[in-house]
Symmetry: C2
Subunit: 600 residues, 2 copies
């Protein structure tokens, strides 16, 4: 199985050629590490992925969690995997050593996560949810709460969830109705129902820590009246021992198309008098806390989409290299041997599409992780601020591009295998079903389009946007005079010009009429995403060209030639149509805005 679990060469390219991950060792936080530690960590992750996660990916899909009214049952491999991840320290990998963590850089943790997700995205989901909720506890909870709940979340005794969504509210967080009533002891009693809560119940851990958004009675309406609560499944005594069961009940499991081994739950809080909850941070600031964690969660979802796309790619490639079928159009001899399907131009087209989506998305996500890292540990304040600003601007594309194009890569994987791609005897259809969740959670394209055009593009004077343009122009300049990359840079330069002309015009449209001006925000998001990934591909091509000039040979040369050729493909085929798409947007096309409900 390991041979089809991502591709070490590709990851090394991203970590050490595209990014200068080794340079992180010069920063004080990582001074005690060396490259060998990074590599050993990745090797451990790969081993756990191969041994504990990949083998039951299909089994977990075929035997989804069940609920008998009392308990949730998962296939037993889930618990073994949870233990392996926890014992190897991955739940605390990015935490400081003094908190029991491995004090590893974000980009190393994310690459480990890439292995886990590639092997089994639903079983490893329990860990990522726990990592995310532990981040909230660590960052915003009181010392007392942190001391009581964080250690067992980091060492694998407790798991965690993020409980935002409710049946009546969906993406509109301002309409959350779950309420919290102050109790005499300073805690709260929480009442309400949450839906689509991943990992919301199971027997993997002694306890589950729900991070719940709720409205304190009497709080202001809308987003300004939402607070964050820690609501454990089982109450925890002050000495850390487990107490009574809290008033949190599993109302039912939801039955997903994919991602099946992660429970998706409806949770009822307070049906028996009120669930005990503890306010995290200050009242009415819950959404801002959640937002501070969202960039990580969004990179996480996008990375999951990227690696599922990547798995679809390498399985399809493997099949295409082995499967003989038909002959090239020019071959007229029915007795000539069949060719392997990788020889057919249209199969190569599909594989190239998969490659540019999967590797472009993976590269984008790891780059975003490096910005996240820089925003915390870059040497100067200015570098940190710039990294944070650029990341914030890019997040809508980082979340949306891999989610959208990743599913297309998985779809192409099915198509390359044909009938075999459609049956559960091969893994492609599961990647497709699993990957289809990613355009939904952590914000749909519709939400991110509004966020990008309505908010982020202009925020803080358009600083993030300018930083992106500068970074892209720097790569274009770098390619001037290059034999292989000058044409690619010219194509990106054209695309960048389109974006630069378009963006202020759209901002003016929004200023003139916000509802009409934002009507096509999703199309703008898609256009921006393709420009960003075009830039990522130019950068990959630049690295590849340098390596070839430095004498890369044999399989190494093939690897870099593949990068260059994929970049050419991206510029020619994936950026085609950008100008006409921009033209529709510049003209303020109002068709979707003008459409009437009654006309459907």
């Amino acid at each position: 199985m390991t041979d089809k679990l991502l591709n070490e060469r590709e990851l090394n390219f991203q970590l050490y050629e595209m990014l200068d991950t080794e340079a992180l060792l010069e920063r004080p936080r990582y001074a005690d590490h060396d490259r060998a530690v990074f590599d050993a960590t990745l090797e451990t992750a790969r081993g756990i992925a191969a041994e504990y996660l990949a083998p039951h990916n299909r089994k977990g899909d075929a035997n989804e969690p069940t609920f008998d009214g009392e308990k949730v049952t998962l296939i037993p491999e889930t618990k073994a995997a949870w233990n392996a991840l926890a014992e190897a320290g991955f739940h605390a990998a990015h935490h400081d050593a003094e908190d029991g963590g491995l004090q590893l850089p974000e980009v190393i943790l994310r690459t480990c996560v890439a292995y886990f997700s590639a092997a089994n995205i639903s079983t490893s989901g329990y860990s990522f949810l726990t990592i995310g909720s532990a981040n909230l506890v660590k960052s915003f909870a009181s010392d007392e709460l942190r001391e009581r709940f964080l250690p067992p979340m980091l060492d694998g005794r407790y798991s965690g969830t993020m409980a935002l969504t409710e049946p009546g509210q969906g993406s509109a967080l301002g309409d959350i109705r779950t309420t919290a009533r102050p109790a005499e002891d300073g805690s709260y009693r929480v009442f309400g129902q949450k839906m689509f809560i991943s990992g919301g119940d199971h027997e993997l851990t002694d306890n589950i820590v729900h991070m719940v958004l709720a409205r304190i009675e009497g709080a202001p309406a809308g987003v300004k009246g939402i607070s964050l609560f820690l609501v454990p499944k089982v109450l925890v005594n002050e000495d850390g021992s487990l107490g009574a069961r809290n008033d949190v009940a599993l109302a039912g499991l939801l039955h997903k198309m994919g991602y099946r081994n992660t429970t998706s739950t409806v949770l009822s809080f307070g049906e028996k008098g009120g669930a005990v909850g503890y306010l995290v941070g200050e009242a009415n600031k819950g959404l801002s806390y959640m937002f501070q964690m969202m960039n990580e969660a969004r990179i996480g979802v996008a990375l999951g989409a990227s690696v599922l796309a990547y798995q679809s790619y390498i399985h399809a490639l493997d099949y295409a290299r082995e499967r003989p079928q038909g002959r090239l159009p020019g071959s007229k001899d029915p007795l000539a041997p069949q060719v392997r399907i990788v020889e057919h131009a249209d199969v190569r087209r599909m594989l190239l599409q998969q490659k540019v989506y999967a590797e472009g998305s993976l590269s984008l996500c790891l780059y975003a992780s490096s910005l996240f890292e820089d925003s915390h540990t870059a040497p100067t304040d200015a570098e940190r601020a710039d990294a944070a600003e650029l990341l914030d601007l890019l997040i809508p594309m980082v979340k949306s591009y891999p989610s959208k194009y990743g599913v297309i890569a998985s779809d192409l994987g099915i198509q390359i295998l044909g009938g075999s791609g459609y049956i559960r005897e091969y893994p492609l259809e599961q990647y497709y079903r699993d990957n289809r969740l990613n355009p939904i959670h952590e914000g749909t394209e519709g939400i991110h389009g509004l966020d990008l055009l309505g908010r982020k593009l202009g925020q803080r004077g358009g600083k993030g946007y300018r930083l992106f343009l500068e970074a892209a122009r720097a790569s274009i300049s770098e390619a001037a005079g290059s034999k292989q990359c000058a044409g690619l840079a010219a194509a990106l330069n054209d695309a960048l010009g389109i974006l630069e002309q378009l963006s202020p015009e759209l901002q003016a449209q929004v200023a003139a009429d916000v509802d009409l001006g934002l009507a096509n925000a999703t199309a703008y998001l898609d256009l921006f995403g393709r420009v960003v990934v075009g830039w990522i591909w130019l950068r990959q091509a630049l690295v590849a060209e340098r390596a070839l000039e430095a004498g890369a040979a044999d399989s190494e040369a093939d690897f870099y030639q593949g990068k260059l050729h994929a970049a050419r493909y991206f510029m020619d085929w994936e950026l085609a149509g950008l100008a006409s798409q921009a033209q529709l947007l510049r003209a303020g096309n109002r068709l979707t805005y003008d459409m009437q409900d009654a006309w459907f």
Copy 2:
């Protein structure tokens, strides 16, 4: 359930406003019918769909067929539905009255099939496979075979399959290895294995008639040595009674992502000495017989894709009209009531996309059916020949456009519902899984692209292609001077101009180097398909404009306004990028052709 089963108004529009189905009554074959017969037939079909098919669509998905080594078990509703379809005469609907058929026009049968597929595409699959194989028996089998096998296929006692694909061959039919050895009694003994045979085994009927492609021992290599055989599951005595079990064994069931209640089988012929098979028609002409049936089968698959897209559309629309969530961007009052999501421009964009794909595809398929009808029953020989020629040219687009864009419509259905779209508690995810089969069977886009550019575009002096251009130009002329449609016609005219410039250049590229020239054939197919569906949308708009001018009011006016607005959407958004796509093709972009296996 009926209220969400297609839309009668839409079907009437297609049958009686876009097509002049009533005019068929003037043709001798339909002289004994009247419009009331057509409508009553459709009403019966709708009733059976609602009563016998829709109620177990989800159940059949959740409880797929099982094989215990002896027998295949299906949920019992499958048999009840089979009986209802057979008893109402739908297996013989298009056959002549003297053969026990209802002697109905193709387009009425197809519309009935649309209801059945919309309600339950996998259960109704057994009927369509039987209809297709009965067509082969009727058209090419000897009188003796026809008398023995056709009546029980038409009245529901026997079912049928098309057994083409083998494990080692896939789309390359010339490489079929199943062999047939002449026996002394004039029959043959068949040996080999077939794969992905839909409906290949089950207990719905007393017998299953497999129409098997095989190579008579000593036949020429390649496509010229393939013959067609009728191989029953159970031998049939001359008096029509059932005899011994034939040497056809179910080697196993395949487990599909969707379409689950149709068995997908691996069949072994001749493991115990040879399966008795009867040659159909002449030796070595099997593939040409099969091809004569393929247009119908391809329209059938495309229609299935269209109605699954349509079901995704109406379920998503229904949800969008009922589900309140969020507010418009301009609304700043958190206490303002939530709006229904159909009010959000981006949801309307997704619904419009669904509408243009689903209704455009449905319209295209029924138009193709009317061409098929005309090719058999149009008044003059010239009209018949032209209809056949045009249909033949259009078939690659008719098959591919609905299959490709239908899945996108189903994908958008999931996205509109968000988390609810991803769970099996709602029907959207099943439509998505079911619909994903359609780009695979009856020829992938890759196959149809080669067929279009390498063969059909130029066949018989490019007659079919010229007929299409003339038909499209006639619609453009019709729109000249129209207030609502002139702009749409101008957009289509531009697209047509792009196609006209491109096609001969690509033919020259193919003539110069067939392998290189066909490398981007799939992209050409997609471009051609968008032009064809653009033409379909212009025609729908023309009909709508006339109806509005004639005074359509209230919900009728809304219906026609919807058609006009959707046509505008198609021209602006779906034809955008056509020019840049054509530019890549004209330039003979060789990136997929030049890509090397080792570079992936």
